[in-house]
Subunit: 407 residues, 2 copies
């Protein structure tokens, strides 16, 4: 797999999170010569929040985790496998998750219900647990880096994705580190693809859930590669509490302002790395929408533009075909008045008041289209709703990757 | 432009409709060496119904027609131009439509309000009426065939699209003939792209409108190429009354059963020809959904599958990757139970009861995927809702066509 031209120069330095231990293993289930299993071990007392796909055909591991995380049961481990999604696998799929989590629980000396699982890969193939179970004892004893962990969860990803930030809560400095995977079948609905973010902050389960839901809206739910929503989307946020900060009473606690900003930073960094690794991507596109009736409407308009194949192919061709943006805004069903629509690309005003500006000069826009970072800005009315979403272009690479991924 | 591999062998014989006269002209606005203007002249007494895009950024000609058709004003002509959509052109766009329709009215000796207009082409470019107006006198006097008319309205279409049928109302035989254009920016919402269907039947405006709306749901609104909805979608149904049949009192009149079937036949034929000419298409895909809570839900699930880039690229690659169908059904937001989901491709049962069938043999499905006509059948529950939708695959051809269409 050729490295995405939008890939970061290198994997970033990720802070170690006290209370989290990582280990990886190679099952050879689909990928040869590389690790494809990850175990995240969590010290006792770790709180966990998670968001999952809203798909009606959610995978077995999603169903397993959803039932356990929402109740606030303290988690002790997260097991991840790459290569088989264990989705649409019926009762056999649930049995496979149970077997895996029980084996991890046995190796760690904890209850299977305290073990979460996330899977990514082909849909509909039964998960062969015989290829995973023998590795549990080694996983329970191993120790590796965030970088190795991020490598082990890749599928069509061309680079490993990580991000880290620091914040202060009370008098304590807390660390946030996270990894993610995702490249295709990327369209946000609640969460998207796999993300694992850990912090040493002390945060009650209810606060943690609120922080995660809020940050997800501005990160993983604000990206799209191809409008297809995975059966396995899962984002986990784990707080080990080792930093010993004072416990906040709510997610709105003013003392959490720095933490919220740092969490946004990590999650938006990971989410935009997924876009930068979008299948076949050659352009990274940021779409800002303002003037909508509310934030949700602005978000909908932004995603309509971000998901339009005609907008994405035009950008792939470095064609300043802004008429397709007009089309995409129009189909969003957001009841906007076209006479109030303003469009800028690369900071150049192209259209205003429902028509192209009179002295429009395409030259600077055409120059902007040749770059790797495309900025589209839309004002759709006089309302206060705003949103920012990210996507990539649609290229021959996407077709090549997806016309023969499974075979 | 290479002819679509899914194109019909030839343009069909279309019955002449008494009361409808066609003529074409070449404006050289965008296309050289071919006609790109069409005028359909309608005898006095012709009733017209029409459906239009629901886009918030509907084009100027759509706004012009919508205001006039809904009131039941008898139409005397329809003017079509290919190469410029006159969309997002502000007050100048409305002025351009007014100028064109006035010029036609003057040439024909009728009111401008009795002249409809439909445009297709690039969005956002002002329409240069100086290139169109000189042709009005010749258009008002000319006479050509349905085939020439269908050729004149093409843009990225690789073949001209026509269909014809006959029905009986009372003791009279009536004819239906229609043409359409469309290839990209095809996703139905109320109507899709341009369609012009004429009949010599006598049908009151209210009945005509009801017949058109109903038939559109099962034809132009049941197709998708790329999920993008045009600013200019318009379908017109014209009834000249020359057949002299008894006037039906309502669209449900049992005496209209044959006419309804014939109208369905013509409109579904035209709609599926648009799919067969989908940009880059190499496979024609029919998706049948049954067992949904209602028809609208079945339709939504069908379109979720039909619009999924991952399903469409898998079919392009002749890969029986049915797990992507599971994914697409899941993201439809139709609240289905995956344990009730049944999937067949090419008549072969693949999945049932929420998992792959035990003795699944991929060989016959793989063989079916190599053909040009792909049949997907889904049962999503025990409800009575059904739908059939049509789409094409997503290929390198789509990317090539759309990454440099405007330039």
């Amino acid at each position: 797999m050729t490295l995405s031209p939008l890939a970061p120069a290198s994997f970033p330095e990720l802070a170690t999170i006290d209370g989290v231990t990582l280990s990886t293993a190679a099952s050879a289930m689909k990928y040869q010569g590389r690790d494809d299993m990850l175990l995240m071990r969590l010290d006792e007392g770790t709180e966990m929040a998670a968001v999952f796909t809203r798909s009606d055909t959610a995978a077995a591991p999603v169903e397993w985790c959803r039932q356990r995380v929402s109740g606030g049961i303290p988690a002790r481990a997260v097991l991840v496998n790459a290569g088989n999604a264990n989705a649409f696998t019926g009762t056999g799929g649930i049995a496979a998750v149970t077997a895996c989590c029980s084996a991890v629980g046995e190796a760690l000396g904890c209850n299977a219900d305290a073990v979460m699982m996330a899977s990514t890969g082909v849909i509909g193939e039964p998960l062969d647990t015989a290829m995973l179970l023998p590795h549990m004892p080694a996983l329970a004893a191993g120790h590796t880096s965030w970088h190795a962990a991020a490598e082990a969860i890749r599928t069509t990803d061309t680079f490993a994705k990580g991000a880290s930030a620091t914040a202060t809560i009370g008098d304590r400095t807390v660390q946030i580190s996270g990894i993610a995977k995702g490249s295709g079948m990327i369209a946000p609905d609640m969460a998207t693809m796999l993300g694992f973010i850990a912090t040493d902050a002390a945060l009650p389960h209810r606060v943690l859930t609120s922080l995660l839901t809020d940050a997800t809206r501005r990160s993983f739910n604000a990206i799209t590669v191809d409008s297809d929503t995975s059966t396995n989307d899962s984002v986990f946020l784990m707080a080990t509490g080792k930093a010993g900060n004072p416990l906040p009473g709510s997610a709105d606690d003013p003392g959490l302002a720095g933490f919220r900003a740092a969490l946004d930073q990590v999650m938006q960094d990971l989410a935009t790395q997924i876009v930068r690794d979008g299948e076949g991507a050659t352009k990274f596109i940021t779409i800002d929408v303002s003037g909508a009736a509310d934030d949700a409407t602005a978000h909908r308009i932004g995603l309509a533009v971000a998901n339009s194949p005609l907008v994405k192919t035009a950008i792939a061709g470095e064609d300043a075909n802004w008429g397709r943006i007009v089309m995409a805004v129009g189909k969003a069903g957001a009841a906007i008045e076209q006479s109030q629509l303003t469009i800028s690309i690369g900071g150049v005003l192209i259209a205003s008041g429902g028509a192209r500006v009179e002295d429009y000069d395409e030259a600077p826009v055409a120059a902007h289209m040749k770059g790797a970072n495309i900025a589209i800005s839309l004002t759709v009315g006089a309302g206060g709703g705003t949103a920012r979403v990210w996507t990539c272009d649609l290229t021959h690479g996407y077709i090549s990757i997806n016309a023969d991924y499974r075979s």
